[in-house]
Assembly symmetry: C2
Homo-oligomer: 367 residues x 2
């Protein structure tokens, strides 16, 4: 497709793949609400308009607000932070659920049917994604909505694909801030999907209350392909595709995981990680999973683990973002950009002591 429209804005130094670009020709499946106003970019909205819009649960304006916080421009950053500042008091009253699993485990089908079943119970469901590998050229911006067509059309749902084309840290910041906006818009259940690539599970774990690991039954060696570390992040292991010929194998896999869980450190204080069966395709076991989430919430709120984790998550996020920003602003300083290559070269040749090169740069950078 050669009709490449310009993004509304793009991150600093980003290439042509920046995610906010719209792939033309596919907008028929985009929820009509979110395009109603598509001649007006986020830039043109007043802060107060966005604040009101999110508060009123207007999906178009929620979408614009997220686009604003996804921007890397300094001007948008200030406006986005002011927006968050005003909406922060309205946030926090949701359950944040992380969902991971290998490609093919059936995460999309699960999220679609699980989300619809929650909406039937009266909930408002937002779906966010962290996909470090996503980029617009692979179609990920519309991919999630394509995959979850029924859910995305429902007025009580909000689906936002992964912010893309950036380091995982930046993507994580944007997702965390999107959670706040969705909560302020009244979504009480936030589902955050990720694929098991590199550090993304740990990243998602660091921003959710409850973490769900989705597995499918294989050839009896369920535990082989999966890192012990991932199981230690999970509050619930769901064996999906437990249907038809597969039921017996799924039952075996569940048994195997249940056994393994005896020997593994649990992810959450005052909660025993369990394994359950489910057939997302046939809507089987979804209620059981929701019951588990409710039990989890009750147990951890009573024990204090729920609040403690959220506080710790905020502090960790603050500290890691602070360190990242300090380093970023140092490496952006003119003197550092000028000196760094030469000093690095001398250090690598062994002609300048490392600590001396460092102290030279530090004093240059603080001047």
């Amino acid at each position: 497709m050669s009709d490449k429209r310009k993004p509304e804005w793009a991150p600093l130094n980003s290439g042509s793949e920046f995610a906010s670009r719209i792939v033309s020709g596919e907008n028929t499946i985009v929820n009509p609400m979110s395009n109603r106003d598509n001649k007006k970019t986020a830039r043109q909205y007043e802060l107060s308009e966005l604040v009101e819009g999110v508060r009123d649960s207007n999906r178009t304006l929620l979408s614009k607000a997220i686009t604003l916080i996804e921007s890397n421009s300094e001007k948008h950053f200030q406006m986005g932070q002011e927006l968050l500042n005003q909406l922060l008091p309205l946030s926090g009253a949701s359950i944040r659920i992380g969902i991971t699993g290998v490609p093919g485990a059936g995460k999309s089908t699960f999220i679609e049917n699980f989300g619809l079943s929650l909406i039937e119970k009266g909930h408002k469901v937002a779906v966010l994604a962290i996909d470090p590998s996503s980029c617009i050229s692979k179609g990920s911006i519309l991919g999630d909505k394509t995959r979850m067509e029924k859910l995305s059309c429902h007025p009580a749902s909000f689906i936002r694909p992964s912010p893309s084309a950036g380091v995982l840290g930046g993507v994580a910041r944007k997702t965390r801030e999107s959670i706040i906006l969705c909560e302020a818009a009244g979504y009480d259940t936030i589902l955050i999907e990720t694929v098991g690539v590199g550090q993304s599970e740990t990243t998602v774990r660091s921003m959710v209350d409850f973490f769900l690991l989705m597995q499918i039954a294989g050839a009896g060696d369920e535990l082989q392909g999966i890192k012990k570390g991932i199981i230690e992040l999970a509050d619930l292991i769901v064996i999906n595709k437990s249907d038809g010929d597969n039921i017996q194998r799924a039952e075996l896999a569940k048994q195997e995981f249940s056994n393994a869980l005896h020997y593994i450190r649990h992810a959450t204080d005052s909660w025993q990680t369990k394994a359950v069966l489910c057939s997302a395709l046939f809507n089987d076991g979804l209620d059981v999973i929701w019951d588990v989430v409710q039990d989890f919430k009750l147990a951890t709120i009573n024990s204090g683990a729920f609040k403690k984790r959220r506080t710790e998550q905020s502090i960790q996020w603050f500290e890691s973002l602070l360190a990242e920003s300090v380093l970023h602003s140092f490496y952006q300083s003119k003197a550092v950009i000028q000196l760094l290559p030469e000093l690095k070269e001398k250090v690598s040749q062994g002609s300048l002591p490392v600590a001396l090169a460092v102290s030279t740069l530090i004093s240059a950078g603080s001047r």
Copy 2:
């Protein structure tokens, strides 16, 4: 012992445990050379005196020079870096060997007898240590010399215990700089010992050419207690205490490690990690180990892997020290010290957006 003498200087904010303090009553086992001049502290030495002293391989002055670079005071830092700058051209011409293994594996006996055998072959051997758990109250400053009495008395050896009471990063910097000083003093074989605590193996691997993992034969489950990650760092696995009744078990362990090595990524390009037997106590197998080191050096110098690793190590060291120093100087700034607690509190209570708290601190810190 209540006679606590003052250290020559101590790191910023360090407690009473700073390692350069001398434990009185045990100085009979300190090499007499290094105390000949003990009324004169490093502070009183001229830079030129230290440079000459290290060049002349004077162990007392080498020791003082290392004490200088171990200091955290700003004044000593400048002098220490100037010292390194002048001696750097003389460094680099050694083989740097890291040695790790669980407590009880026999590292000290190995280093003592291996070191003595190298001295017999005409080499000059320096022994440094990284022990994140060390502190003077446990006697570690003299501990190494006590453990390696014969080697420490030999004029062709130099033993320096782990710099202590600091974060691993700081300890690592000091050890890296000590390597440079020892090389400038003519030591052609640098042995760096560590115990397997936390990140210390990775740290030592990042500063040596050759990494030796010392193991002993257990009850047939040699591979159980050892992290796969550690094997992947090793260029040689030595099964120690292969003597007497233990020979058969050691042989089995060697076999087991050799098998495991087929499935494991090797630490060094153009080098196949091997497993060998040794009885350090009976001086058995030490020559074979030295032959392996020579083969390794030849193979990696020919392939370019030797030089490539050293260059990469310098750059990595530079980059990590730079990041550490940038953050350190940021957190030391007056405005940051003043603002940080309040902002952190607000963030943890959820009353201030994280990114706004961060940007507030960044602009305060750069003012």
